[in-house]
């Protein structure tokens, strides 16, 4: 029996979450004394994975899998999971991984837990802690499949280096490609950091008074290499696109640092960003609920504080 990890990549480069799920897999393999297999699909440099302790790397390279399609990615991951006689499959909680996880779980007749935040509390039965009620609570879920799938929440475990000398197997796929769903085009904003992958997220709310003031958010984000986000009213009013809306009905955020500017902190917003490690709020209203949820706060006018913060951070980065 072994544990298999799917290391996600984008345009040939591993996502940070790939190293995190592999680190998680190493810890779980040690705990359960199983071997650790990692699978990559069209990654340029699969050897990079050896920094995080796998016993075996399966590197699939196939032009048929150039674009991500959920059904085909699920099919190949299921196929190799069967070949490797696995007991646990580990995925990230990215949009793509959460897309394929339920498909694989039906194919493998496996138990599934998404948004898992720590290493299993017990192995037999398999008990994992996961976030629920949009980060307002946690639950311990018992997984009772013969095979079980764990989707690890971003930034919950961390990346832990653990170099190994794995066996590497290069393969191309044998199975038929499913084309019932055809991907016609992918539109991506270039040069910006996406909320899901970002270590730092800078978010703006109604306090910024209008879309014309968004350069404050963008400038601060660019100094920090951060993604930009916004609160629900801001996206509802059309100041910013929906894809930037974070909160209960928007995107979840699990960054290391979350900076909220002019966001009052409605319960739905706080729920969506609660898994971020460190939260900073800048707001001129000392009664804003965000101050109860934040680690650091400045009570002050965003239009005065943010430009100063940008200047000071630029100076700090030069040092």
């Amino acid at each position: 029996m072994s544990i298999i990890v799917y290391a996600e990549s984008l345009n040939g480069k591993f996502k940070k979450s790939a190293f995190e799920v592999l680190s998680y897999g190493r810890a779980l393999a040690n705990k359960s004394k199983k071997s650790l297999v990692v699978i990559s699909i069209n990654a340029d440099n699969p050897m990079k994975l050896s920094n995080y302790g796998p016993d075996k790397i399966i590197s699939l390279k196939d032009p048929k899998l150039k674009n991500f399609t959920a059904q085909n990615y699920a099919n190949v991951i299921s196929e190799y999971s069967n070949k490797e006689n696995i007991s646990i499959l580990i995925l990230s909680s990215s949009a793509d991984s959460k897309y394929i996880a339920p498909l694989i779980s039906v194919q493998l007749e496996a138990g599934l837990a998404t948004n898992v935040v720590s290493i299993p509390k017990s192995l037999s039965p398999l008990v994992v802690k996961r976030s629920c009620f949009t980060n307002k609570a946690f639950n311990n879920t018992i997984l009772t499949g013969v095979i079980n799938i764990i989707c690890v929440s971003n930034n919950s475990f961390g990346v832990i280096e653990n170099p190994s000398e794995p066996q590497i197997i290069d393969e191309s796929i044998q199975s038929e490609i499913d084309s019932s769903l055809k991907v016609n085009s992918i539109d991506k904003a270039s040069g910006t950091v996406s909320i899901a992958d970002a270590d730092v997220v800078v978010s703006g709310g109604r306090g910024l008074k209008g879309p014309e003031n968004w350069h404050l958010i963008e400038d601060l984000a660019s100094v920090l290499g951060a993604a930009t986000a916004c609160s629900k009213p801001v996206s509802d009013m059309g100041w910013r696109p929906h894809s930037e809306h974070v909160g209960q009905t928007g995107k979840p955020v699990a960054s290391n640092l979350y900076i909220a500017i002019g966001v009052s902190g409605a319960i739905q917003h706080l729920a969506g960003i609660n898994s971020s490690k460190v939260k900073v709020v800048i707001n001129n209203d000392p009664e804003a609920p965000f101050f109860k949820a934040a680690d650091y706060g400045i009570i002050g006018d965003a239009f005065e504080v943010v430009p100063k913060l940008i200047e000071k951070l630029k100076a700090f980065k030069v040092q």
Binding site: A70, D96, P102, L103, A137, N140, S180, L181, D187, S194
Partner: protein
């Protein structure tokens, strides 16, 4: 040619509809004409299923029973899962424009019926309740699969995830069980004849794809806007009482997971305030104490 004729007639129909509202003159003949067009469109009618989850209101304070084994429903208002409601609204648009039939379904006990009645008041044609408690995502998907095998649906809409369990499991599992194309995080869906064009929100962008019907989608905000959500009016509420709400027995299935215990997050330490003129201190705290920059 046939389709062209129909879309042409559709345009006339939309015009006539507005005309009926504008003036009551010639009402009888307009209605008769409209009736004929509806008949012509009959063979294009889609059958849409929207899967609904009963969840605590988004502003709810989350508490658990003393043994931490269950969610404490005391004083909690239940609503249609927001992601499901975006999907329901999109389905109602298909109903209004293309005469689609919209069925809503939930897996749950009789306490879920008020939200099904609300779906009917919003405009769904009929409701089904599968009479069992939702044990886990796999169990719910199995129940829905059984329904979808009996009835033929062209579009099956689920919310991308519920806001209580946040599993995001049911739509994908159902798609794999039925071997149907599946798009989650769906922000746009248009049907032209038998082809469905969908857009999915991906990390940092949008992916467009197409397939033939039937299809399963995981709905989210963007499929319709928050301001598009339909608030039931008195007429809708009255009509909902007359619409069918069928209760059907579950099929036998076992769950693959169960919740052992719930926990609330640890109480946070109170915020460290920094004076606005003291930005250097904030940078130093983030660098030296929090170690995030």
């Amino acid at each position: 040619m046939y389709y062209n004729k129909i879309s042409f007639l559709n345009i006339i129909k939309i015009y006539l509809k507005s005309h009926i509202i504008d003036s009551n003159k010639n009402l009888k003949s307009n209605i008769k004409f409209e009736f004929n067009i509806v008949n012509l469109n009959k063979n294009l009618r889609m059958n849409i299923l929207v899967c609904i989850s009963n969840v605590p209101d988004t502003t709810s304070k989350i508490n658990f029973t003393e043994d931490h084994k269950a969610f404490d429903i005391n004083g909690i208002q239940f609503i249609i899962n927001p992601n499901d409601e975006f999907g329901l609204t999109r389905a109602i648009w298909f109903q209004q424009k293309n005469q689609a039939t919209v069925t809503v379904v939930t897996v749950g006990d009789s306490s879920c019926e008020p939200i099904l009645r609300k779906c009917l008041a919003i405009g769904a044609n009929k409701a089904i309740r599968i009479d069992t408690s939702a044990k886990d995502g796999f169990y719910v998907a199995t129940q829905l699969k059984s329904l979808c095998e009996k009835e033929k649906y062209d579009i099956i809409i689920c919310g991308r995830e519920s806001i209580d369990y946040n599993g995001g499991m049911v739509p994908g599992m159902l798609a794999q069980m039925l071997k149907l194309p599946f798009v989650t995080n769906c922000i746009s869906m248009e049907v032209i004849e038998n082809v469905v064009n969908v857009k999915r929100e991906i990390d940092g962008g949008i992916e467009s794809s197409s397939s033939s019907l039937p299809i399963i989608i995981g709905a989210q905000k963007g499929l319709v806007e928050e301001s598009d959500l339909i608030i039931p009016n008195m007429r809708g509420i009255m009509q909902a009482r007359q619409k069918p709400l069928d209760v059907i027995a579950p099929v036998s299935s076992s769950a693959k997971s169960s919740v052992e215990q719930f926990q609330k997050p640890q109480e946070k330490e109170s915020v460290k305030l920094v004076a606005p003129e003291n930005i250097d201190e904030l940078i130093s705290l983030l660098h030296n104490e929090a170690k995030v920059i």
